[in-house]
């Protein structure tokens, strides 16, 4: 694996408050080139808030987000995308009235700044490139199907193809395997890991499935109540007592169960 130490994304003291609630509290981390970085934490920890700030869907309260050395935190989503960050959504967002390949072509047309032209037929633009992306995510035979009738797992793969269409340096994936069957999850993450290695892009993803995280992540960060409480290799984080407390409730659950068995 060729991973340089050069940071693609450098987040410094990023915070977000909603009224009195500190949803994200002085979070700092970096994402290295080619790295698959997992951001985990219980529900309400601030993962999605963090993502929305990185992608410009939410304004930060304070802190800096440097992408390839430049602060992007005040840019609108579409400008951040153009700088080279792609994202997939927790709940898939595609264009149901189009075919699968047209969904990808749409992103390509936007990338090539063609969306305001009135003369060419859209379906004939960038079809080859779009097909290559569909092949990359393993669904070329579905290219001309109606997007509205795809299975959920296929929608997730389509989203990945769309997110890859502008050759991003960084990919943000918000719960990429949520709502999928276990075998599908493994397949999708394996696919993502392969693409990351092949294209040498970085991925920051949130995930609830620990199997997925521990199998594929190069590094894991744990967010709890807006604060980053752990950041390190899979083994380090697994053995971190603070993390265990967050996830297992300090072991009380087991103690009670044990007590129950004896009773």
């Amino acid at each position: 694996m060729t991973r340089s130490t050069e940071a693609v994304l450098d987040v410094r003291n990023l915070s977000k408050t909603f009224g009195g609630l500190r949803a994200v509290d002085k979070v700092s981390f970096t994402v290295a080139k080619g790295e698959l970085l997992a951001l985990i934490g219980p529900n309400g920890a601030g993962k999605t808030t963090c993502f929305n700030m990185l992608m410009g869907q939410l304004k930060r309260t304070s802190g800096e987000v440097l992408f390839e050395g430049r602060d992007i935190a005040n840019l609108p989503t579409r400008a951040i995308w153009r700088k080279g960050i792609g994202r997939t959504f927790q709940i898939t967002a595609t264009y149901p009235s189009m075919t699968v390949i047209e969904n990808v072509q749409m992103a390509l047309m936007s990338y090539h700044r063609r969306i305001y032209s009135l003369l060419p037929f859209a379906t004939r633009l960038y079809r080859k490139e779009a097909m290559a992306l569909l092949e990359l995510v393993g669904m070329p035979e579905q290219a001309d199907r109606h997007c509205a009738i795809l299975a959920y797992g296929d929608l997730k793969r389509l989203e990945l193809a769309i997110a890859l269409s502008h050759d991003p340096a960084l990919l943000l994936m918000d719960e990429p395997t949520a709502g999928m069957a276990p075998t599908e999850r493994i397949k999708l993450m394996q696919l993502t890991a392969d693409i990351v290695r092949e294209k040498n892009i970085s991925v920051l993803f949130t995930e609830h499935d620990m199997d997925v995280v521990f199998t594929h992540a190069h590094r894991v960060m744990v967010l709890n109540r807006g604060e980053l409480i752990a950041n390190g290799s899979v083994t380090d984080v697994r053995n971190d007592p603070k993390v265990q407390e967050v996830y297992l409730g300090g072991g009380t659950l087991f103690a009670e169960e044990a007590a129950g068995e004896h009773a």
Partner: protein
């Protein structure tokens, strides 16, 4: 000071009718999401029925009993309409129901004409409240004071019903999340019917209670329609106190408008609405909401394809047929076909932004009439030749759409629709009242084409080339990257923005583009008629286009053209009969019920079922 006080009281009295009718509309929209165009008709029925009852029931008791019974009767009529007309189409695409309610307007108009005749009826004075009271020296009708007192009581009891009772809880819950209420085991169909009863009864009550002040006539339905929509929007959809505040605001301002600035009366409420919406996009007391995103109703739209050889052949054949109209048809046919082509272009321009962009405009006539007036004014005041005027019509209309679109883009859904309506009304009243320039109500005449096109046949060919060219260009635009970006912005703002598409900008430009294309239709129109009147800018014109787009099939590319041609043709056939509105209304309602996907959408489905065309994967 005394006079001002008296005027405030008059305004408050006028507000009661407005509030009664508007609160019904607000309830119906809040729960069922139906934009009920027929609400003004319920109000008119309330007045007529109340009038008839008062002939039988004498005295003070009889008067108020008549008012109540009129409300009850109209409520029941509302129930009949809901069960027979609207229930079958709840599953149709969003806003499709408004076409059905438009059909109901037509039916009720003719039924009222049949029953009560064309004469305006003078309302009876309320027994016991015929006199005037002097307040600060100014005479105030006793009946006004009674209405001022009654309205807050009705507001309070409605408010009690909505906030404190079980029914109210259900209604509020359904306003927020219909699906959830259904999942909790509430019979939605009857909840909807119940709300429709209550809403219609309020309208009927409003119609009957204003009898001593306004009487009953056949124009009441359209006259109040715009005002109650404005009140509901200013107050905030679904908010009863909001509707009351807005009704008072509008009525009081209107009284002062009449007294001090008579030219303002036609437009005052639309100015107020535009200002309120620009400051508070969801009305005074409304909460943020995303009309049109309460769950997609109906099937998702099918992908579109460039026309295949069969369709191309068909279009070519149609073009040949159209080109032959002057050869085989009479002069009448030529004029009728000219009208149809122009109307189809107008409807197709609306379909571009409505169908592809999901931007429902209630004021598209602004750009059709706008284009027509630009051409007419250029000819009249600058001696512009027809050719140049035809070229500048879309430029002017497009420019207007560019500016209006920029303002309207802050809003979405029904609020967006209402703001477009407000601007269309602004333009209309400008034309209507600026008599020295636009001729006002008398319009502008003698705007004829250049000599080489002076006979109907040659002008027909010009219309054919430009009109059909425009329609085909709009169709092509749907297949262009711009058309795709517009659909992307409609399908998923989230994904579109996350892949670099400036969705608001795309929609804004589409609005301007649609406006310019409507301007072409307007330019063609003015030279075909030789004259132009403010009616071409009216709400009715905007509704015409809206109706045919839905009637033809909003989720199909050819819907607007098919719908436009069918409606114009049917209209032409029917207007020869005396009660043509009734017939047309019934036809529209039948089409809505039998073809809930619109004419084209349903034809496609039927053909697929019988295997006449290849089935799409969706149906397998």
């Amino acid at each position: 000071m005394e006079l001002i006080f008296a005027q405030v009281l008059t305004g408050l009295a006028n507000a009661s009718t407005l509030f009664l009718v508007a609160s019904g509309l607000s309830l119906i929209f809040g729960v069922t999401r139906i934009v009920n165009f027929a609400h003004g008709s319920f109000y008119m029925l309330g007045a007529f029925i109340g009038y008839s009852l008062m002939q039988f029931l004498p005295g003070m008791f009889g008067f108020w009993l008549s008012v109540l019974l009129a409300g009850l009767a109209v409520g029941l009529i509302g129930v009949i309409v809901e069960i027979c007309v609207l229930r079958p189409v709840y599953k149709a695409p969003e806003l499709f129901q408004l076409v059905a309610t438009f059909g109901v307007i037509l039916v009720i108009q003719d039924l009222a004409l049949l029953t009560w005749g064309a004469e305006d009826l003078l309302g009876p004075r309320a027994p016991g409240l015929k006199g005037v009271v002097r307040i600060l020296g100014e005479p105030i009708p006793q009946y006004d004071l009674a209405m001022i007192a009654i309205t807050p009581m009705i507001l309070l009891s409605l408010w009690y019903l909505i906030t404190k009772t079980r029914v109210g809880v259900l209604v509020r819950a359904a306003t927020q999340d219909r699906e959830m209420v259904g999942a909790l085991g509430v019979n939605q169909a009857w909840l909807f019917t119940g709300v429709f009863f209550l809403g219609s009864a309020m309208a009927g009550l409003g119609g009957a209670i204003q009898l001593p002040k306004g009487g009953a006539d056949l124009l009441m339905d359209f006259n109040i329609l715009a005002a109650i929509f404005v009140v509901v929007v200013i107050g905030g959809m679904g908010s009863l106190p909001g509707a009351y505040i807005a009704a008072v605001l509008i009525s009081v301002l209107n009284v002062f408008g009449v007294a001090y600035l008579p030219e303002s009366t036609l437009v005052l409420m639309f100015v107020v609405m535009a200002v309120v919406l620009m400051i508070r996009p969801y009305g005074l007391l409304g909460r943020e909401e995303f009309a049109g995103e309460h769950g997609q109703v109906g099937e998702p739209e099918r992908p579109i394809k460039p026309a295949g050889p069969q369709l191309r052949m068909f279009v070519a054949a149609m073009l040949v047929l159209l080109a032959l109209v002057p050869v085989f048809g009479s002069n009448f046919h030529v004029v009728l076909t000219t009208d149809i082509i122009i109307f189809c272009l107008f409807a197709a321009s609306l379909h571009f932004m409505l169908g592809l962009g999901g931007l429902v405009s209630f004021g598209h006539a602004a750009f059709f009439g706008g284009g027509a007036y630009v051409a007419a004014l250029l000819v009249k005041f600058a001696d512009t030749p027809m050719e140049l005027a035809l070229l500048l019509a879309p430029v002017g209309a497009g420019l207007a759409a560019f500016i209006i679109g920029w303002i309207c883009m802050r809003l979405t859904g029904v609020y967006f629709a209402m703001l477009t309506l407000a601007f269309a009304q602004l333009l209309w009243s400008l034309v209507f009242q600026w008599g020295e320039v636009t001729g006002g109500d008398d319009g502008m005449v003698d705007i004829w084409p250049s000599p080489w096109l002076s006979d109907n046949t040659s002008y027909y060919y010009l219309t054919l080339i430009i009109g059909v060219g425009g329609i085909l260009f709009l169709r092509h635009a749907a297949h262009s990257p711009f058309g795709y970006a517009l659909r992307a912005a409609r399908d998923s703002v989230k994904q579109a923005e996350a892949t670099g598409i400036h969705t608001k900008q795309v929609q804004w430009l589409a609005f301007a583009f649609a406006g310019a294309m409507a301007g072409i239709a307007g330019g063609l129109f003015v030279f075909s008629k030789g004259s132009i009147f403010p009616t071409e800018l009216e709400i009715g014109r905007s509704f015409d286009a809206l109706i045919v787009v839905f009637l033809g099939g909003v989720k199909t590319l050819s819907g607007a053209v098919v719908g436009g041609a069918s409606l114009e043709f049917i209209k032409d056939q029917l207007t020869r009969f005396e009660y043509w509105r009734l017939t047309l209304g019934v036809v529209i309602i039948l089409v809505v019920i039998l073809a809930p996907e619109g004419i084209v959408g349903t034809a496609r489905k039927v053909s697929e079922r019988f295997g006449w065309i290849r089935k799409s994967e969706d149906l397998q």
